[in-house]
Amino acid sequence: MAEQEQSQATLNKQYQPTARKQSHARYDQEPIIIAEDVHKWYGHFHALKGINMKVWPGEVIVIFGPSGSGKSTFIRCINRLEEHQKGRIVVDGVELTHDVRNIEKIRREVGMVFQQFNLFPHLTVLENITLAPIHVRKWPKEKAEKIAMELLERVGIPDQAHKYPGQLSGGQQQRVAIARALAMQPKIMLFDEPTSALDPEMIKEVLDVMIELAQSGMTMLVVTHEMGFARAVADRMFFFDQGQVVESGTPEEIFTAPKEERTKQFLAQILH
């Protein structure tokens, strides 16, 4: 029990949630993401070895594991930034195949936030956010800008609207990236290690935005090492290792009673 208290104390130290967790998952509806026996090879390297996952609307899923375990590869398969060679992925009722129209349909409903922000450096913050709504959803400029300013307020940086990304700090850039993804009003948000490239002081501001997003009922798939975040808002957690889902469960199950040996080893490493 002592080590449990110790790991709990470390978790509390690592991250203080600003609010109590409340699940918004809608288990009565159909799953919004279905991954059945997904395999992916990079040349001869077998990166994903049969992933099975179902995500219901409103769930917050945290995917964690050692580097090279296929976590980023898997979530990039969800919006077809990577192609899976075997198995089935169905997003919001649309199956991901080589059909370009399906891919474009899915990408409008799935927003993604990258580790390296990937903001467009030649456009202002406001233009970054309004670009896709204007050109993909064909909204008029006034509507797009109004929604963009609301989003900037929501992520906490309305005064930076006319600056260029290069003039912002890392935390601000990542929040702009989140606003840019939200501007398309997606049903699902994917996060690929959103805080891994940030200084410790800036991690909190980004995680606060993500927690607020979770509490507003957004379906989120987050690849992260921030266990405090997982503990605060995750509905389920998946542990990936060497291309496979080793274990999955609620945060309580994973942190207090992990079943697999590899999970215990990994948690011991990151919760030192």
């Binding site: 990408r107 990258f114 896709a132």
Partner: protein, 504 residues
């Protein structure tokens, strides 16, 4: 135990400054110690020795050769009674440049005064009516600059772009004129072509069903094939009309298109009247055709350079994208084109253009010699431009493509909105260097028989009354090219500043 005093947390102090004076710098760097003084004296003496000859010569040279031949140097054998059309081109340029300056340039720059000084200087060194025309240029530029500033918030950018787009055809039309009609139906075909295009624009704004519009264009096509003498005109009208309709329809959801279509339709009526009534009398008097054989001098160089640059740039970008394409035929063709054209000297391309185009085309289509030279220039420059742009494209990180894809942009939108703006900004210095080289390479058209400024210079020097004035003439030509090249180079630096290259 005495503690050391804590470091005081006072406000930050300003750094110690050394006042810079010119005399101080000269004294410190040129006059002390003694070997610097010696070097300074020796250098000054060397400069004197080298420049003395040049300055003495410059003061006693026969500079009158330039003003005496200025007209042929500038426009070659362009008929004197139509010189007003060349002036019109310059005045229109002043209007367009002044307007764009007023719309787009925010701060009151020193450069504005330098640009305004150009017509002033030219007025000062010329005489008679030329002086008045340069003064008029200045007046027009200032007036349109003031107008441009008034339009800054009222879609001034759109008007300025429209003015630039319309300037180049107007330039060609003014310089070339339109001759007597070769076929009696000439002006009618022009009117019908324009009618088809305007109809397409109106159709796009009010978006009738696709089948309707396609039938209409097909009917025009068939009519062109059946009616003798109208084949080329109606074919062109059908294709361009359909293209106009297709492009305009994609923007039909934008509110301005319907108003624009109505305005174009209304403006078309006076244009129609003009074509029917004024075309022919004008073609016999003011606007009669000046054959391209008479275009010469600096006018020819600038004409070839401007159109060469304008068309080789998008072609170069297209080839750069083609070379990186995943479609094997496109990729192979791009590589073959680039490597072939880059492996051949420019003069060879010019000769090939002059000689081979007439062979390749059907005998009734003859292409103007100047146009052939321009096409050669475009072919040549596009290949080099393609490689430069490709270098810029390679510098864009993969994350930009991924972010664009993740947010739902398709391949074309990604290229146009995200990748190309960044890639082209990075290669501005290289591209402008290419353009400057292109401007100077246009002097090579002398070799294929076109009389550009260098050709005119050589013919001036063979005139017995001007024997021995080589230095004056060539120095003048060199100075002209230097001014133009430096102008382009300066403009590119300002452009880089405005686009924030290297800062964002």
């Amino acid at each position: 135990m005495p503690q050391p005093a804590p470091t005081s947390t006072t406000d930050a102090l300003p750094p110690p400054t050394e006042r810079f004076t010119l005399l101080g710098w000269v004294y410190k760097n040129l006059l002390t110690p003694w070997y610097n003084l010696l070097l300074t004296v020796v250098s000054l003496w060397l400069v004197y020795v080298l420049l003395k000859g040049t300055v003495v010569w410059a003061l006693s040279a026969r500079w009158e050769v330039i003003p005496a031949n200025i007209r042929i140097l500038m426009v070659g054998s362009y008929p004197a009674e139509f010189m007003w059309r060349v002036w019109a081109v310059i005045w229109l340029l002043a209007v367009v440049v002044g307007f764009s300056w007023g719309v787009w340039v925010r701060s009151r720059e020193r450069v504005a005064w330098v640009l305004m000084a150009v017509p002033v200087v030219l007025a000062a060194i010329s005489s008679g009516t030329a002086r008045l025309t340069w003064a008029l240029t200045l007046v027009l530029a200032l007036a349109s600059w003031w107008l441009g500033r008034r339009f800054r918030e009222r879609k001034g950018g759109l008007w300025a772009t429209l003015m630039w787009v319309l300037y180049f055809p107007t330039f060609v039309l003014l310089v070339r004129g339109w001759g007597l009609p070769e076929e009696p139906a000439w002006k009618y075909t022009t009117a019908v072509q324009l009618a088809v295009i305007v109809a397409s624009l109106l159709a796009a704004a009010w978006a009738p069903r696709v089948s309707w519009v396609a039938v209409g264009h097909a009917a025009v096509l068939v009519a062109g094939l059946l009616i003798p003498g109208w084949r080329g005109a109606l074919l062109w009208a059908a294709v361009v009309g359909f293209a106009v309709w297709y492009v305009a329809r994609r923007y039909a959801h934008l509110q301005g298109l319907k108003r624009l279509a109505m305005q174009v339709g209304l403006a078309y009526i006076p244009l129609l009247i003009f074509i029917f009534f004024a075309y022919e009398p004008l073609s016999r008097t003011w606007m009669s055709k000046v054959a391209s054989a008479h275009w010469g001098g600096l006018l020819l160089n600038i004409l070839i350079a401007v159109f060469g640059i304008m068309f080789s740039f998008p072609l170069g970008v297209a080839f750069a994208l083609g070379r990186r394409s995943s479609l094997p035929v496109v990729r192979l063709f791009s590589i073959l084109y680039i490597e072939f054209v880059r492996g051949v000297p420019f003069i060879t391309i010019l000769f090939m253009a002059q000689v081979m185009f007439p062979i390749l085309l059907p005998p009734e289509m003859s292409i103007d010699r100047v146009v052939r030279a321009i096409m050669g220039v475009i072919m040549f420059a596009a290949a080099y431009m393609a490689e430069n742009v490709r270098g810029g494209l390679q510098a864009i990180p993969k994350g930009q493509y991924e972010a664009a894809a993740a947010v739902g942009l398709n391949a074309t939108q990604t290229m146009l909105l995200i990748i190309l703006p960044q890639a082209l900004r990075n290669v501005i210095p290289v591209l402008v260097g290419q353009f400057i080289g292109l401007l100077k390479d246009t002097t090579l058209v002398t070799i294929v028989g076109l009389l550009d400024i260098l050709g005119v210079a050589q013919s001036v020097l063979s005139n017995p009354s001007w024997i021995g004035t080589q230095r004056e003439v060539y120095l003048f030509v060199a100075l002209l090219f230097w001014v133009l090249s430096y102008g382009m180079s300066y403009a590119s630096r300002r452009l880089e500043q405005a686009l924030g290259v290297g800062q964002r």
